[in-house]
């Protein structure tokens, strides 16, 4: 069947409309469209958004297929309403050559649940010393435009400068994991009142902020653009706000968990709350929400970081850092941004689809819901409320901090270029 009629959907949260998909594209948007020859999906007042785009996903393949694969990760993405994800480079081997990025890109295409745009490493082996072949990765079939050593900071100022300059040649962007390594030796959680009490090594906000400050100045100096991964502190917001006011070409992302959770949760010593950058304070959370609302922070990115059970079922210091996020991101954003009145659904579409697609140059994604556009869409039951059950995750890993927590909203349908990947909450 090539025609699908989505009936009575609130497009970007507006008045209910019908949306007709024909083949891979949206044929028509309007009221009372004919259902002739089309499969009908009764939206019944659900919200229709452009397919979500995640600029920051760890798919773990190649190398750590015990925690996630391109297949399980893209199925998780489709479950969460995503039609494109950017797969981070910290795999084994590292995605620092055209060969590795093409392999990941091709796996994504073969599985067909979600477009996979590989992120290339900035430096060889993520070691921060020698630039990887950025141009070759860009020219490969994967067409890499985003480069990041995520998981590690490009802390050498000269290497960072060169990378920022070099990618200008093909419109690339360096996404920085801002973490001054010396200030975070042995760091286990946000440095503050809670870390002092728990006796866990402190991870000061300044370790993030000092790198962001340096990098926006470098970007200004060389006239390049820079993207800041998972910004987590109120101070970082101030620096980005200042940089934007100066006209520096900087974009920034925030994760869903940094919009909701604080370091108070670490009191349980449950490593499910162990993440890089660490959960911060209530003050930081509120500043991040405000910054996402006013556009200082451009996008929400999941930093979906799957880990096998045994890497979290242990003492805090021995545990891996990271949380899965693809299947709960939209719910957390609804909880923290929509239900608080900070963003409307058009705003959500902007922060979770249009802007990330634009930053990552993901062609065909993050487009308006209008006739002639690729049919990358997601339908959300925003009235739903339910508690998170990791057993139902499509991801291979279950390391979610939201187990048992009640969150609003549920993605019921996802279409990738007109092909349904999720129907009534079930993967196809």
């Amino acid at each position: 069947m090539s025609k699908i009629l989505i009936r009575g959907a609130k497009v970007l949260g507006g008045e209910p409309q019908d949306v007709l998909i024909d083949g891979q594209t949206i044929a028509e948007v309007g009221a009372g469209l004919s259902a002739e020859g089309a499969e009908v999906v009764e939206a019944g007042g659900k919200v229709l958004l452009p397919g979500l785009v995640d600029l920051h996903t760890h798919l773990r393949e190649p190398g750590r297929e015990d925690s996630e694969t391109v297949l399980t990760g893209t199925r998780a993405a489709a479950s969460g309403g995503y039609t494109a994800v950017f797969a981070m480079a910290n795999t084994f081997p590292v995605a620092d050559t055209a060969g590795v990025v093409e392999q990941v890109w091709r796996l994504g295409r073969e599985h067909g649940y979600c477009d996979v745009q590989p992120v290339g490493a900035v430096t060889v082996g993520l070691e921060g010393r020698k630039l990887a072949e950025l141009g070759a990765m860009h020219e490969s079939a994967a067409g890499v435009t985003v480069f990041s050593d995520d998981g590690k900071c490009v802390d050498d100022a000269v290497i960072m400068r060169r990378a920022l300059e070099y990618v200008k040649a093909f419109g690339g962007v360096v996404a920085q994991h801002a973490q001054e390594p010396r200030l975070t030796e042995g760091a286990q959680m946000n440095e503050g009142v809670v870390s002092a009490e728990l006796g866990l090594g402190g991870w000061p906000a300044v370790a993030e902020e000092s790198i962001i400050a340096r990098d926006v100045l470098l970007a200004e100096h060389v006239g390049s653009r820079v993207h800041i991964c998972h910004l987590s502190t109120a101070g970082s917001v101030e620096i980005v706000r200042w940089a934007k006011s100066r006209g520096i070409d900087v974009t920034a992302e925030v994760t869903p968990h940094h919009l909701l959770l604080t370091d108070e949760l670490v009191r349980t010593y449950n490593p499910v709350y162990k993440v890089n950058p660490p959960l911060r304070t209530e003050r930081d959370v509120l500043a991040l929400r405000e910054a996402l609302a006013d556009g200082t922070i451009d996008i929400v990115a999941t930093d979906h970081a799957p880990h096998p059970h045994e890497d979290k079922d242990c003492e805090w210091a021995a545990a891996a850092m990271g949380m899965v996020g693809l299947e709960t991101a939209l719910s957390v954003v609804q909880e923290t941004m929509v239900e608080t009145g900070l963003l409307d659904w058009a705003g959500v579409a902007d922060r979770m689809s249009s802007k990330p697609a634009k930053i990552g140059r993901a062609a065909g994604h993050g487009r308006p819901v209008s006739a002639g556009e690729p049919a990358n869409l997601t339908l959300v039951d925003t009235a739903y409320r339910g508690s998170v059950d990791p057993a139902g995750f499509a991801s291979r890993s279950r390391n979610t901090p939201y187990e048992g927590r009640e969150l609003p909203g549920r993605v019921t349908h996802t279409w990738l270029r007109g092909k349904a990947t999720l129907v009534d909450g079930k993967l196809t």
Partner: protein
């Protein structure tokens, strides 16, 4: 009700006084020809030490044996743990052998809390020091020593440390002893002052229930007890202070400084002492120094804790602060 002793902060004033009073009775057992009580006969306790600490392990072992418990010593060195077996596996293996309580020493802060709250095992968990977090029995034995010396052996029964001025000097940042002591001494009504170079104080210390000073000399005349903490020489290499010499000049306790303390005031040290660093030999060997007494008191305190947690069908120590995970 919790069956564990994880943090000194979990103890109420009444719990702490009960432990100190019980320890006072336990101390008398040491004076008898037969230093043994049948109380924990048939109970098995494992001393699970992931970190070397001979003195703490021996102290627990002596306490356990005096209460007639069966004792298993498990040192991570040379065991399966060093071959990659996890804390969880190790604990479950031991529990399968019928262990009633686990006394755990671990380099990772929070490891005892995890062991007690993760549903891995049913046994009671007693924290014998975790990372830079807590060492509750050390704080209890310190409070016991203070109460004996500053209030009196018999006069102290039923009493706390109300109004006593306690100064803790040294590496607060990396020290579990300081954290535990601040919590417990505050609960017992004492006024605590921490003295250290700013580099060895944690960010966030300003929220602790104590005073903070960088100046030892001005604090000494207002102290009923001065507790010197060990400062590891290696800290020097991470730029926490310039040299050993400068540290001991500014924060070490020597005879001259001790003379500025009130006459009744005592010098405490949890051991092991680094003579010439935080304390001179003259002070360490003076009769005002309670270091050896603290070791003896450690056995009594640990007997009291073991009895109160394991001696009945449920623990006698309440834990009002609900820290359990969901």
């Amino acid at each position: 009700m919790q069956r564990h002793l994880i943090s000194a902060a979990d103890l109420t004033r009444d719990d702490a006084v009960l432990i100190l009073d019980t320890a006072e009775e336990m101390a008398r057992v040491a004076d008898r020809p037969i230093k043994k009580l049948p109380t924990l006969r048939g109970r098995t306790i494992v001393n699970l030490f992931f970190e070397d600490s001979t003195r703490t392990r021996i102290s627990f072992e002596a306490a356990e044996k005096r209460l007639s418990a069966d004792v298993i010593n498990f040192s991570a060195k040379g065991s399966s743990v060093s071959k990659g077996e996890s804390l969880k596996d190790t604990a479950q293996t031991l529990e399968a052998m019928g262990v009633d309580a686990v006394v755990i020493r671990h380099g990772a802060s929070g490891a005892p809390y995890r062991l007690a709250n993760s549903g891995w095992i049913d046994a009671a968990v007693i924290n014998a020091g975790d990372g830079t977090h807590q060492h509750p029995t050390q704080a209890l034995l310190d409070a016991f020593t203070m109460r004996r010396r500053l209030v009196g052996r018999d006069a102290g029964l039923g009493q706390d440390l109300d109004g006593k001025r306690i100064t803790i000097v040294g590496d607060i940042l990396h020290g579990r002893v300081a954290r535990s002591n601040v919590d417990l001494l505050h609960t017992l009504g004492a006024e605590v002052t921490l003295v250290a170079p700013p580099t060895l104080l944690p960010v966030g210390v300003e929220t602790w229930p104590c005073e903070v000073s960088y100046d030892l000399d001005s604090t000494l005349p207002k102290s009923d007890a001065v507790m010197m903490l060990r400062v590891q020489r290696e800290r020097m290499n991470a730029a926490f202070f310039p040299t050993e010499r400068e540290y001991s000049r500014r924060y070490g306790l020597d005879g001259d400084r001790m003379a500025r303390m009130p006459e009744h005031a005592i010098v405490m040290h949890p051991g092991p002492m680094v003579r010439g660093m935080e304390i001179t030999a003259e002070v360490a060997d003076s009769e005002r120094c309670t270091a050896i007494e603290q070791v003896a008191n450690g056995v009594s305190i640990r007997m009291a804790v073991l009895y109160l947690l394991l001696g009945g069908n449920e623990p006698a120590v309440s834990h009002p602060r609900n820290t359990e995970e969901k």
